[in-house]
Symmetry: D2
Subunit: 360 residues, 4 copies
C-alpha cells in the first residue's frame, strides 16, 4: 500500500509530479449511466488552479483536463475513467539551488529517508499539483451525489487570527465564491484578504481553517467500527497537504461540555426524525443520522516562504537557503475545492457501500 | 467493507456485542518469532477494564483474554492470532426499557436506519466493549514496536475545563499511571478527579482530551499521498467511540501562525538530523522525520447520562426516557490505553510497509 | 496481506492451527435481517468432518460450532459474526517424531523458509482443519444466496482413474449425498469407493476432481477486468489445500476447439435470454450471463501416506521418515462441501458488489 | 471493487477502451531507485502488438508508451508511474452494425446486463487492448524481479490439436521468440502456424495452451491460506481474456496419481535443498519451495469469427450477424507476453510482502 489509491468501492488512483510530464489518475467504480459534464469538471479544476487571483501563486497554469476513457456518448459506462492534465509553464531551473537542500518543514528530507532518492523539482510528488487528480475525482463523485440531492460546500472560516465565528447555519454559503478568499461573509473576507496581502508582502505565509458542510445525506451511511464516517472523513482531510487537524460537530469544544448539554434531543417533524441541536455533526455511532454533516479542517502556514532560512543539505551540513519560485502565501482559498472533493469521494464511497447493504 | 477490519499488513478483525457470548478478534500479519507475553496483554486489558476505580463504571468485568492460535512455545508463528474475551456480568434486563427507544446521541437510531434492526442490549456493537479487541491488537502491535525501540504513551490532557497546558516535553510521562485519571501532573489530576466526581454525582457526564506521544520512530514511515501517517492516525483515532477531533503537531493553533515562526529548522547533532522546534509533530509530507510524533484526541461527554431526557421511540413518538445501567461519567481515563492501542497498530502497519520498501 | 482474509464486501477472516486451542473466524459483511439457522451451519460442518465414513480419516472430531456475535433473536444484525470450534481429540504426540523433519510435499519446509519457525503438530496452520472456518463462512454465504434462489452444488467427478464422464446436466445431483464418496452416479461411486479402499490398504493415497455447479445466478455478476468472476472463483479454488487446477466451461478441452463450434448461440425463450450451448460456463467477459456456472477442480493425492519415505530434516540431513497419525487416503469426498463453501462466498461477494452498482 | 486494480503492494490500476482516446494505467508501489529502461518496456509491448505477423490481426498499431511520472533521471522514485498509449488507427465504423447486436460468446450481453449500457465499438473495455496496461505493469515488475535473478518465461505449448508434449525442462526456451507462434520447438511451431493459417482462411478461430515457467524464486514467497501463491497466480491468469483453465505442477494429471508417486522427495545438494521431482510445481502449502514454478493456461478459440452466425439483438429478436473488423484467428501467440506480465506482477507482489515479513 504505497497509498496512492483512495476509497474502497469508488476508488481514485493518482499519479504525477509537478515537473513531470503530466498529472492524472483513474477513477475505478464510477456508477454507470450518469451524465458526464466535462465543463463542470473543468470548472471545479479552475477553482483550485494557480494564478486565479492576486492572493494565490502567480503561476498561470491552465490545467485543462482530458478524459481518456469510461465515457460514451456523454454518459459514464461504469468502466474506469482515466484522465490527465499535462504539465506546462514549469520553471524547473528555479529549483536547481535546492537539489541538495532539505528545506525546512517540507517533504525533502523525509522523501530521501523513505525512498533513498527524490525528484527535487517543485516538490515532486509532494507538490500541491497532486491535488488536481483529487479535484477531478471529487467532481465525478459530485455527479453521483447530485443524483441523491447531496450537496458538499466548503468555505474559509479562518485566516491567521481572522476568524468567522458565525455558525454556518446563519451564513449564506452561496456567497462563498463571491470573493477570492472564499469566505461567505463579505466583511470578514475583506479582512482575510488584507491579512494575506500583508503576509505576502512580508515574504511570509499564514494558515487558516476551512469548514465543510454536507447536506442531504440520508440516515444510514457509514460504518460502526473502524470505518466510522467521521474516521474516513478525517482520513480524507488529513491526507491533504498542510492539514494539521480535523474536528466534526462540537469538535474540540465538545470536550469541555457536559452530556446533558451536549446530547442532541430527537424530535419528529411530520414523518421526519430530526435533532434539536446538532453537536453530533450529523453522525452517531459512525453512521449518518440525516442531519447536516459539518467539520473543520486546520491548515498550517505554507512552508515555502521567500525569506532566507537556516537549514541543512544532503551532506548534513548546516547552510542558509532562500527558496525561489512562485508560491501561495496561504493555501486555504485554493484548498476549499480540495476539501470538497475529498469529502465528496468519502461520502460517495459510503453511499455505494450502503446501496449494497440495503439493496437500494 | 463493513469496516470491522483495521490495517493493511497488520490487520485486526474484530467481532462482538456487549451482551453477546464473547467479544474478540483476529490479528492477521503478526511478525513471526516474537515472544508473546500473555501477562503483558492482560495488563493492557486491565488498564481499560470497567470497575478499575470510582470514576469509571462500577461494572466489574474481569475481561480475561484467551489466545486461541498463532502462538507456539511462547512465540508468534506468523499465522493469525485469534482471541476471545467471554462476556459475563451482563445485566441485559437493564436494557428492556430502551428496546423501543432511540436514546439521544447514541447509535440506536442510526443502526436501525442502516441495518433495519439492532441488538438494543448494552449498545450492541456500538458498546465500548468492542474496544477490548483493539487493546489486544494494540498489545500485539506494541510487542513488534518494542523490537524497534518505539514507545507509545498517552495521557489525559484535559477533563472538561480542567486543562494541563504544560507541553508534554516538560512532563514525566512515567507518572501517568500513578492516578486514576491518568494525568501525569498530580495536582491537575486531583482537580480532574474532583470534576468527574462532581459530574457523576450530578448524574451527568463530561468530555476531555488525550495527548499521545510516539517516541523512537525513525525517519521514513508513512506514505506521501492518501495514506499520510497523520491521515492513518486520524482515521484510527476518529474510529474510537466518542472522539470528535484530532490534531497533530501545532494542530489547530498552527492555523494562526506565520510560516517564518512555524517552520521547523533542521540541525545536525553528531550524525543525527533533528529539528529545533517540532510544530510538524514528527511528520513531514506524510512521512515520519525522526522527531517525536504527538497528537491530541478530543472526546465528547458520555452520551449515557442518568437523568431523564426527552427523546423518540421506534414508532416515532416523542417520549421521555431515563437510562439505567452502569456507565462511565467520563470515558477519557479508560480511553488512554485505547488511544495507545490504535496508535500502536497504525505505526506497526506503516513500519511493516516500510520494511517492504526499504528491504530492511 | 498475510492472506488470511477472503473477500471484499463479504469478508471471512480465519485463524487456528489443528493442535491449538480452537479454530474459528469472523464474517464481516453479513447482510442484516436474515434468519440464521445454526442447525444448517452445523449440518454443513458435519459434511466435512473427519470420521464420517470408512474412506475418511478415523479421527472422530465433533466440530461443534459456536456463534459468538452478530446474531440477535435468530437474525443476522449486519455486524460481524465471530465463531469458534474448539479443538479436541488431538494426538499431539503423534507428531513428535516429525518435529525436526520436513515431510515430502508438505508445507513443513516452506513454512520454516517463510517464518523461521513453525508449529509442527498436525501441520499447524497448513492443516485441513483450517477449512472448518471456510465451511462456516460458506454456510452463511449460502443463507444469502438462498434469498436469491442461487444454489451451489458440488460432487465428485473423478477419483484416480475412475472418471464420471456424464455431463452434469444429465445427472441427478440430489443423489450426491447418497454415498460416502459424494458421486451422484451410484455405479461410479461404488468403483470410486473400492479404489479408495484399495489405496488406503496399500498405505497410499489418491487424487481426484470435483465439479461444482452454481444455478440461479442472474446476468450481471462479476467484473470486467482483474476480478472477472472466473478469476475470483479460480482464486477461491486454488486456495484450498491440495488443489492443482481449475477450469470452467469448456476448460482445457476448449483449447482444441474452433470458434465456430465453441461460440454459444443466443436465443430468446419468452422474455428470457439463453444460449444453446454453454461452453462459456455461464460467464462472458468476466460477468455472469444467466446460464449455469460450472467448473472443475483438480486435487492431488494426499501428501501424507503411511509408508516410509526418504526426506531431509531441519539440519539438512537426508533421513527416512514414516508418518503416524490418522489421515484421509483421498481428500476429495470431504472437499466437496469446501468447494461449495468457497464458491458460495465468491458468488455472494460479487452479488453484494452488483447490488451497489445496480442499486437493487 | 470494480476490479480494475490488481495487486496489494505492487498495484496496477488500468483504464481504457479500444476506441476511446487512450489506454493506460498507474503502477503504485514500484520499488525506488531502480533503472527504468523505456526501450525494454516498449520491447515488451511490441511482443503483444497487433500486426506483428501474418497470424495475428492485420491492425497495425504502433502502441508507443509514454511514461508520465515516477521516474527521475532514469530511475524509479517510488512514487506512482502513470502511463498512456494513445489509441489510433481505429475503424469505429466497422462496429456500427453491431451497435444493437449481442455477439455470441462476447461480453456484449453481459456488459449491458451489468451496467445498463456499453461502448459497443471494438468491444469497449472488454477489448484485448486493455492488456496493453498489463504488459507495461509486467515490464516494471520484471525490472524488480531482475534484481533478484527471477526470470519469467512463457511459451506456446498447444494450438488446437497440435501439442508440444516435451517437458519444459527439455526445451531451450531461449528459442521461443524465434518464430511467430512463440513455440520453442521449431518443428512443432511450423505445424502450429500452418494450423492457424488454415483456420484463418476458413474465417474460423482456434484455441491453445501457454506454459509459463518462473525460475529463481527463493523459498518463502506466498501465503498459507487464501492467498496461496498458486491462488494468486490462478487469479491473475483467469483474469486474462479468453482463458478457460489453469493448472500448476502436476495439475489435472495429478488427480489420477498416487501419493507415493506424486510426493517430491527432498535432497540436499551442497547447502541447497531441492526435490528430485517437481510435481509440486515449486509451491508447497501455498509458499514457494525454491524449485521452478510452472503452470499451464488454457485459451478458448477467439469468439470473433468472420462467418455469419445467428444471435440476438438488444430488442431480444433473433437475427443473423457477421462481424467485420480485423481480428486474431488465435490469441495465443500474442498472449504469451501477457501471461508473463501477469505472472511477473503476481510474483513481485509476493516478493514485496515477504520483504516485509522477513525484514530483508
Amino acid at each position: 500500500m504505497a497509498g496512492n489509491i483512495f476509497g474502497n468501492i469508488f476508488r481514485l488512483s493518482t499519479f504525477g509530479e509537478s515537473h513531470g510530464e503530466a498529472v492524472g489518475g483513474v477513477v475505478d467504480g464510477m456508477l454507470p449511466g450518469l451524465p458526464i459534464d466535462i465543463d463542470f469538471i473543468q470548472k471545479e479544476l479552475n477553482r483550485r488552479r494557480p494564478g486565479q487571483s492576486r492572493i494565490t501563486t502567480p503561476r498561470d497554469e491552465k490545467d485543462r483536463v482530458r478524459l481518456l476513457s469510461g465515457v460514451f456518448e456523454g454518459r459514464s459506462t461504469g468502466t474506469p475513467i482515466g484522465f490527465i492534465v499535462e504539465n506546462e509553464n514549469q520553471h524547473s531551473a528555479d529549483y536547481d539551488n535546492i537539489r541538495k537542500i532539505y528545506r525546512p518543514s517540507h517533504a525533502d528530507y523525509t522523501y530521501d529517508a523513505k525512498y533513498g532518492l527524490r525528484d527535487h523539482r517543485g516538490g515532486g510528488r509532494s507538490s500541491a499539483r497532486e491535488t488536481i487528480a483529487r479535484v477531478v475525482g471529487g467532481a465525478l463523485a459530485k455527479i453521483i451525489l447530485n443524483e441523491y440531492g447531496i450537496i458538499v460546500t466548503a468555505f474559509t472560516k479562518q485566516i491567521g487570527t481572522i476568524v468567522l465565528n458565525t455558525p454556518y447555519t446563519s451564513l449564506d454559503l452561496s456567497k462563498t465564491e463571491d470573493n477570492i478568499v472564499r469566505c461567505p461573509d463579505a466583511a470578514t473576507a475583506e479582512k482575510m484578504i488584507a491579512l494575506i496581502d500583508e503576509v505576502r508582502m512580508a515574504k511570509d505565509s499564514i494558515g487558516g481553517v476551512i469548514t465543510c458542510v454536507v447536506r442531504g445525506v440520508s440516515a444510514g451511511l457509514g460504518d460502526p467500527c473502524f470505518d466510522k464516517l467521521q474516521a474516513t472523513l478525517a482520513h480524507a482531510m488529513l491526507s491533504i497537504n498542510a492539514v494539521k487537524g480535523f474536528e466534526y460537530g462540537s469538535g474540540f469544544s465538545g470536550s469541555s461540555m457536559r452530556g446533558s448539554a451536549h446530547n442532541d434531543i430527537f424530535y419528529v417533524d411530520g414523518d421526519e426524525v430530526h435533532t434539536r441541536t446538532n453537536f453530533s455533526g450529523g453522525i452517531q455511532g459512525g453512521i449518518s443520522n440525516g442531519e447536516d454533516i459539518y467539520f473543520n479542517v486546520a491548515f498550517k502556514p505554507t512552508a515555502t516562504i521567500l525569506m532566507e532560512q537556516p537549514t541543512i543539505n544532503t551532506d548534513k551540513e548546516e547552510v542558509n537557503t532562500i527558496v525561489k519560485g512562485r508560491h501561495d502565501p496561504c493555501v486555504v482559498p485554493r484548498a476549499v475545492p480540495i476539501v470538497e472533493a475529498m469529502a465528496a469521494m468519502t461520502i460517495v464511497d459510503a453511499l455505494l457501500m450502503q446501496r449494497s447493504i440495503s439493496g437500494r
